[in-house]
Amino acid sequence: MRGLERRDVMLLVIVAVMTLFAPIILNPFPANSAMAQFNAGYPDLMQRFVIFGIFAIGFNILFGLTGYLSFGHAAFLGVGSYSAVWMFKLLGFNIIPAILLSVVVAGLFSVVIGYISLRRSGIYFSILTLAFAQMSFALAYSVLGNPALINLTNGETGLQVYPSDPQVLHGASAPNVTNLFGLEMRQTCEVKLGGTASGLSGCDTHMLPGAFGETFWAFDFNAGYYVCAVLMLIVFYLSIRIFRSPFGMMLRAVKSNQQRLNYTGLNPRPYTLAAFVISGMYAGLAGGLMASMDPLAGAERMQWTASGEVVLMTILGGAGTLIGPVLGAGFIKYFENIFSKINDGVLHSWFAFMPEGLENLFVTLLHPFVGKGWHLTLGILFMLVVIFLPGGLVEGGQRIGRFAFRRRNRKGGEAEAEAARKQPAE
């Protein structure tokens, strides 16, 4: 395939297959069983997986390759979202102009922030980007959201589309939700497998757990998810090309020893700025897609916690590796959405087979780790990964692979892992 080595083609194909069949892979448990709690194959979460995957892939181009740790990437995500919603308000619900504008605006915004922040490296760079992101958050939250002044962001309430908005390109027959030339993003077709009446149960209805007495699987094929998935595959391919290009090599050189690069007469700043802008545009794309799947942009998207989240995703998955950030994004989003919904009632139903006292004991023991305690579980796992698998989930996968095949992969994988281990610049 174009400009890719065999190994990368394999990786791309695996990722493509995984994303295309995600609705099936993520719903391994029958829809009306107790384990259905752990199914993640519903449209909203699948969309989040790939959107945050894009965000983390972009972040990894900056952090994984150059070692510059940006703590303000959420600002680009937010700017992308706001631009997309403004396109919905002004032009109409087609997502193409929204996504284009979100990438362009995030790109311009990252040129400005990158130009200033990249004058410093290491911790000073991180603090500068953090400061810019918090400034953007404060602007979006109150200054630019005050109806008395100019209302660009609608403040705490979040920017959304009202029936009174102009929407000049909105045709009479066009659907009143975000769409791609008429294909509604929320359109979901459900396939039922097992039990009576297997097959396509329709694209308009949603079957319910408990609606039927028998065991069956339900898979949701959502239009919006596939739009996001295709875009993710494209930007994933782009990121492989960047990783393998001479430009990528220059970025790695910045990471391994910037001083030496300076002495050889090369100016690293254009390279780092380019990497910064590219990753900013990735974040803008992710923000635009988020708004396209759900046309509301809130200021919290820009808060420092959101910036920290993408750092966690990248490190958890494996900074500097190709697939790591996507895995990390999926991992964190899974915990946020699945574990936070396990409440005491669910726990009691799991342990209902036990004697009363034992049941209550188990529920009490597990209680701090689920529901509102999902942060705690995630934190423990994050610590375990960082301590025992410094290369992230990817290293875990490699170790398992090595153990299974009893041979060391001495070729490409080592060099990549080597680069990932290097400390950031300075």
Binding site: S142, E156, T157, D204, T205, D294, N337
Partner: protein, 454 residues
């Protein structure tokens, strides 16, 4: 509960259902699974309770969740029935909703619009929730309300006090039982006039976000109408914890009243700072300096401790309402008793509004005879009820806002226990807090059409 009586409505409904059942024996099953989003099966119905379990409003969220659990218990015929016994409609008999057992899922809004929408979407898409309720911030309520409108499920708002929820952001599928900033101001103004007179200069400190702005706008308009002057309005960042710098210039500004348009931790901190600066003992313009906190809650009063004594504000409901203000607020004691028996302390106003909203939804479905959101909207619009602790209440069709009496309270001088921190000054009757749906502070909104989804 088990007495069988023929009512006109009951006969009509039974007749209609029976004839429909006879006429369409084959289509009925197919119909049950189409026509609207998440049509429930024959045995159970799922409600989604989306409350902040982490973040600044986690206390309110925890109390809301308790109330939801209690409401589901009562709907399913467990416990003592609570307000089902006092509610003016007698359709709910403890057999769930339309014969289906009520089940619920919970989620964490984190007090962020994004997280709240993600959580609500997973309830709708994954768990098949037919109604979403909860939330304890206006930004979240507006965001989730918009989502429910698009997805075609009903949203029963929890604690949300901004004018915009049923103002410029109102939606056909969304309903609010809680009162709003305008009502707070309208109820407070006459009380402030009695307490402090008509010749006052007010200095506003306002939380710099949507709710703060509408609260400030409302209270400034109401107090100016009775002759007060607004000296200054200073916006404070939401994340601020030390308000000394904002309090210091107040005394020299010529103001003699300080209005704190703050909520939660903000209010606790700013009030504490104001007391530390000696504002409560100060004299200005020959009068005693006063502090006003327009939106009150028991949780905030507990946080502020001694400093809250004597400071006036408004509430949607208070657990002592029936005891102190009489029969009109029947339902209050029934709810306080079953809540107290289950959890060991009296409920907050956030818990009350969430409990009532759940029962109102269940009742609307029963009256409509269908879970179809459009039928529910029709049943709730213009619905008048009583016995839910607030006296006679109207769900107005024009903007889906409840109209009922507003409680004006004051920090108690000598609290008897840790739950008895506020005393009721008076209850402002509904007529005084009613406004037109196109009032300037609420204008620009459009309910749109009810959306049943698929």
């Amino acid at each position: 509960m088990s007495t069988s009586r023929f009512t006109r409505r009951g006969v009509l409904r039974t007749g209609a259902i029976a004839s429909a059942g006879l006429a369409l024996p084959t289509y009925l099953r197919a119909e049950a699974h189409t026509g609207f989003t998440n049509a429930p099966g024959d045995s159970e119905v799922v409600l989604g309770f989306n409350v902040p379990q982490t973040g600044p409003y986690a206390d309110e969220g925890a109390d809301e969740l308790r109330a939801f659990e209690l409401a589901v218990e009562h709907l399913n015929g467990e416990g003592d029935g609570g307000m089902l016994n006092t509610f003016s409609e007698k359709n709910l008999d403890g057999t769930g909703i339309l014969g289906r057992r009520v089940n619920f899922v919970t989620g964490d809004t984190q007090t962020k619009s994004d997280a709240a929408r993600a959580s609500a979407r997973s309830m709708i898409e994954k768990d098949g929730a037919i109604m979403i309720s909860g939330g304890s911030s206006s930004g979240v309520a507006v965001a989730v309300q918009g989502l429910c409108q698009e997805a075609g499920v009903i949203f029963m708002a929890g604690l949300t006090h901004s004018n915009d929820t049923t103002g410029k952001d109102r939606k056909a599928n969304g309903f609010r039982h809680f009162f709003n900033a305008y009502m707070s101001a309208a109820a407070l103004a006459p009380v402030l006039q009695n307490l402090y007179g008509t010749d006052r200069n007010a200095y506003h400190l306002t939380a710099d976000y949507n709710w703060g702005w509408t609260q400030q706008e409302s209270i400034a308009a109401a107090t100016e109408a009775m002759g007060w002057e607004t000296v200054n309005n200073v916006l404070t960042p939401l994340a601020e914890t030390d308000f000394s710098a904002y309090i210091a210039p107040v005394l020299s500004s010529g103001a003699d009243v300080l209005v704190l348009n703050h909520y939660g931790g903000n209010m606790v901190n700013s009030l504490t700072n104001a007391v530390q600066f000696g504002l409560r003992e100060a004299q200005a313009n020959g009068k005693k300096f006063e502090i006003v906190v327009p939106l009150y809650s028991e949780l905030m009063a507990r946080g502020a401790g001694q400093n809250i004594k004597g400071i006036p504000g408004s509430q949607n409901w208070d657990w002592k309402l029936e005891n102190e203000m009489g029969e009109r607020y029947v339902g209050t004691n029934a709810f306080v008793q079953s809540f107290g028996e289950k959890y060991g302390f009296p409920p907050s106003q956030a818990a009350h509004t969430c409990y009532v909203q759940t029962l109102l939804y269940a009742d609307a479905v029963t009256r409509a005879g269908s879970f179809n959101p459009c039928a529910v909207v029709e049943a709730l619009e213009g619905f008048e009820f009583d016995g839910m602790g607030n006296g006679p209440t109207l769900y107005r069709a024009g903007d889906h806002q409840c109209f009922k009496d507003v409680v004006v309270v004051r920090g108690k001088e000598n609290p008897e226990n840790e739950f008895d921190l506020v005393e009721i000054v008076e209850v402002t009757p509904t007529e005084q807090v009613t406004y037109e749906p196109d009032h300037p502070m609420f204008d620009g909104g459009d309910l749109g059409e009810c959306n049943p989804g698929a």
